[in-house]
Structures are given as C-alpha cells and as structure tokens.
Amino acid sequence: MSDFLAQHSLLFSSVVKAAIMIFVVLTALAYLTWFERKVVAHIQSRWGPYRAGPHGLLQPLADGLKFITKEDPMPLGADKFVYLLAPFLALSLALTALALIPFGPQTVTLFGRATPLGITDLNLGLLFLFALTSLGVYGVALAGWASNSKYPLLGGLRSSAQMVSYELSLTLSVVGVLLMAGSFSLRDIINAQQGWQLHFLPRWNLFAGPLPQLLGFFCYFTSAVAETNRAPFDLAEAEQELVGGFHTEYSSMKFAMFFMAEYANMITVSCLATILFFGGWLSPFPAAGAWAWTRFIPTAVFIIAGISLIVDGIRYSTVYGRIVLPVLGLVLCAVGVFVAMPFAIWYAQGPFWFLTKVLAFLFVYVWVRGTLPRLRYDQLMGLGWKVLLPVSLANVVLTSLALLVAHR
C-alpha cells in the first residue's frame, strides 16, 4: 500500500491538496459574504447579520440551507444546455484559477514527496491565470443569453463588453512587474522582491525597482474591480436598471454559484495584487537583526484577537453566544501559541503575511463598494479605454526605459 502511495505520490498529493483547497476556499467564500455584509453594515451605521448565531456567524450556513431548499424553476424558452452550463462554467473557472496561487515559500511533505504550498507551480503561472480569467466572461455572457429574457440579455451584453475592455488594461498593467522580474512564474516574481532599501522600506514592486509600479498598481486594481464586476463597476447587475442583471432568471444553488464565482474571483485578484505588487508572502520586516522579534507578530495577532473574543463573549446577550465565543477565542489563542512553537514558526510566517495582505485587499474591495457610487455606462467605457489603457501603456514604456537606464 505504501509502495503504491509512494509510486503515485504526485497524483495523491495533488488530490489531497485539491480537496483541502476546495474545502478551505468554499468555507472562505461563505464567510466572505458574512464579512462583506458586516463591513458594509458598519459603514452604513447598521449592525448587519446578528440573529443567526452569535454576531451572525451562522448566517452563511443559514443562507446555504435556504439556497439548497429553494425551488429551482427554469424560464420558458431558455436554452437548457447553455442555461445549466453557465453557472458551472463560472464557478469551475473561478476555482481553477486559485490552483495556481502559491501561498508560502516552504514545501510540505505529502506521501514522501515535497510539494509546494499551493496546488501547482507553473513557470508560466501568470499567463495561465490570465487564460483562465479570460474564459470567465463566458459564464456571465452565456447566462444572460440562455435565460431568454431581456434584462439578463442586456446585463450579459454589458458585462461581456466591460470585461473584454478591462482585460486589456489588466494585462498591460502587469507587464511592468513582468519586465522587472523577468519571469512569468509567480514564485519568481515574489522572490525578485526580496530585500530592503533605505533600511526600512521592503523592495516590493509597489515602491521599489527601477520604476515604482504605482501607476501599474492603480491600473491593475481598478481594472480588477471592473473585471470582477464589483461596485462601482457592477453595471452588469445594476438593480435599478436591470432588475438583477445576468442572473435575474437564476435561483437556488445556481444563483449561489454565480455569487461564489464572484467571490472566488475577488480572492484570486487580491492574491494576484499581493503577489505582483506587495511582495506576496514576504514579511514587511527583516527576519534577522534588530527586527527578529517580528516573527512573533502572528502569535500576537492571534492571541489579541482571541482575548478580545473571550472578553466580548462573556458579556454577550445570549447564553449560546456566552459559550461559543469564548471557546472560539480559546481556539484562536491556541493557534497563536502553536504558531510560536519552534517547529511551526518559520512555516507560519509566509502564509500569515500572504493571507493578511489578501484580507486587506478584500477589505478594500468591500470598502470601495460601501462608499463609491456606481458609474454610468459611458463613463465606465470611457475610463477603461481613454484613461486606464493609455496609462498602463505608458507604464510599460516608462518601466522599460527605467530598466534600460538602470542596466546601463
């Protein structure tokens, strides 16, 4: 048995990693909805979900149960095959893209085989990521068309035009980073950002290199928000104009799949922003010397979060909350202590910083949604073609010039 496992270790380790990844990502997607509702609620001086479980922590579960038990009608005259294909296409492409993201520098040993953190490591990772996201348009466009209804059709048309337009500036905004790293591999791109300048500033692509990629990052993040069809660029699902946009005729789990795809795309885009411009898993502090204590930051964060949960939990209004929240806090404290152990501390650094940065980007996503009004459609197209595309092209030219001068 163990011989068999060792022989096919590539297959088995990939399957195990994919299974863990799917489980973690689907849970994260569910709690991302909770996160978004909470943050938007607090931006608008509301409480957000509060009834299902303490602090509404069971709200994703309740939503999921509701989606599963809902009636699932299909509009008359819909193209059956395409109508059913669209949500699967959207979700599977969005989840596949996450397989290309590396989460940490170390390797783990599974079935006697050292494999990287993350499902796969391609030397053309970025290019394949763009290939997958470029196919994501079909989910939206086909859903709009197959529903055989006017509002979804308009929503589908709008969003496919929008995604095709913004894909150009999205791809071009990354070229500067590629030129500086000289590789398509996400791992190489992160490793190229190691080191410090002026003794305190990490050499992340955002503010280092021959030309700091501020323009590139601006173009990347704006295009990425538009590419994922999120507010203020969510013209495809503008409720006031289009009822619900491309997913108007979808209900129950198929509707949920579109939302899961949207959130998965948000995670992918945030991971990519972290990797390309913010040094991926690299810590913002040097690992040695006077900054060596920073390796205990993950522990401190977990323990502070755990203690505040315990303190909040003891005074919670329901008995259930008074039991669950302190237990959760204790779990967080235990994780903090575990992360400080000598055998875990170096493994924890990379993923901790990576996920922290990704979470920060997800917060910005929600923050932008909670504060900015939606653009008009012509403004959206004008911004894409007349501002972002020229600016990202200029960034490519300027970065190449800076590289030429620097290597002279």
Partner: protein
C-alpha cells in the same frame, strides 16, 4: 503512457467539437463548439511542450476572439438556422476531395516526418521565442501589426460612415 492517453482524449475532444460546430443548428452552440476546439488545441500544444503558445491560444482565441463572436451573435439575436437540401457539389466533389485529403495526411504521417515531434531542450521557450520574434523576424512582425492597424482603421471608417457626421 499518460501522454498518449491525454493526446487521444484531447484529439477526440477537438474532432468532436469540430464536427459539432458544423452539425449544430444554433449559432451560439456552434460558437461554443469552436471554443471547445480551441481549448483542446491548447491542451495539445501543452503536450508538445509549447506552454507559451498554449496559454496564448486560450487567451487570444478562446478568451478574446470567440468572446466577440458570441457577443455579436447575442447582439444580432440570431435564431436557429434552417436546414436546406444538401448541395450536390458536396456529394460529387467534396466527399472525394476529403477522402484524398485524409489519405494524404495519413500517408504524410506514416512516412515518418519528424516535423511534429515535441520541442526539446529549453523548458521555458518564452525568452527564445521573443528573441526570435523581435530580432530575427522583427520586420514581418511589424508588417503584421501594420496589417492589423489597417484592419482597425477600416473598421473605424466603416462604422463612422454609417452614423454620418459626428
């Protein structure tokens, strides 16, 4: 072993996608079949070790050009096509010619041409590819881009003329 299995699976997908492209009656279904063909071809390129070409195949053909096809079909709201009687030309000329083509291809493959063997050596041919493109073949490359520019200008002129003075 696994490469052979993958090759035949992808080849089967590509060929059945191509057949379905012709047989389908609805334009959207035909376009979807064409996308399947494109993606299967990208898989075949991957098997040959041409990763860059595979990724670009998906990005450009499946991700950009076919999106425009689908977009136009959606905009025109084209319905299912009607079948007409099969033209006699197909029976008398098309079928023999396709047999000749298949035989020729089979003969060419059987005669052991090495032109289709896998790329060897360089694992990441992106650098060598761009070196070739921008040094050895820089002139044809620039010519092609001018050709594309002319096509864009032509499309713009056609679109402007319809709307009158703007």
């Amino acid at each position: 072993m696994i490469v052979t299995i993958l090759f035949f699976a992808l080849a089967l997908i590509a060929v059945s996608g191509a057949v379905s492209l012709i047989v389908q009656r609805h334009p959207i279904h035909s376009a979807l079949s064409l996308i399947v063909v494109m993606v299967a071809l990208a898989g075949l390129y991957l098997l040959l070790g041409a990763q860059f070409i595979a990724a670009v195949q998906v990005i450009v053909y499946a991700g950009a050009i076919m999106v425009l096809f689908v977009f136009v079909i959606m905009l025109l709201n084209a319905g299912a096509e009607e079948r007409t009687n099969v033209s006699r030309m197909a029976a008398y000329i098309g079928l023999p010619l396709s047999v000749v083509l298949a035989a020729g291809l089979a003969w060419w493959t059987a005669s052991g041409s090495q032109a289709l063997s896998a790329l060897s050596g360089d694992v990441t041919p992106t650098r060598s590819l761009s070196m070739m493109l921008f040094q050895e073949y820089a002139f044809p490359f620039e010519l092609t881009s001018i050709l594309v520019l002319i096509a864009i200008l032509g499309a713009l002129t056609l679109a402007k003329r319809e709307g009158g003075a703007e």
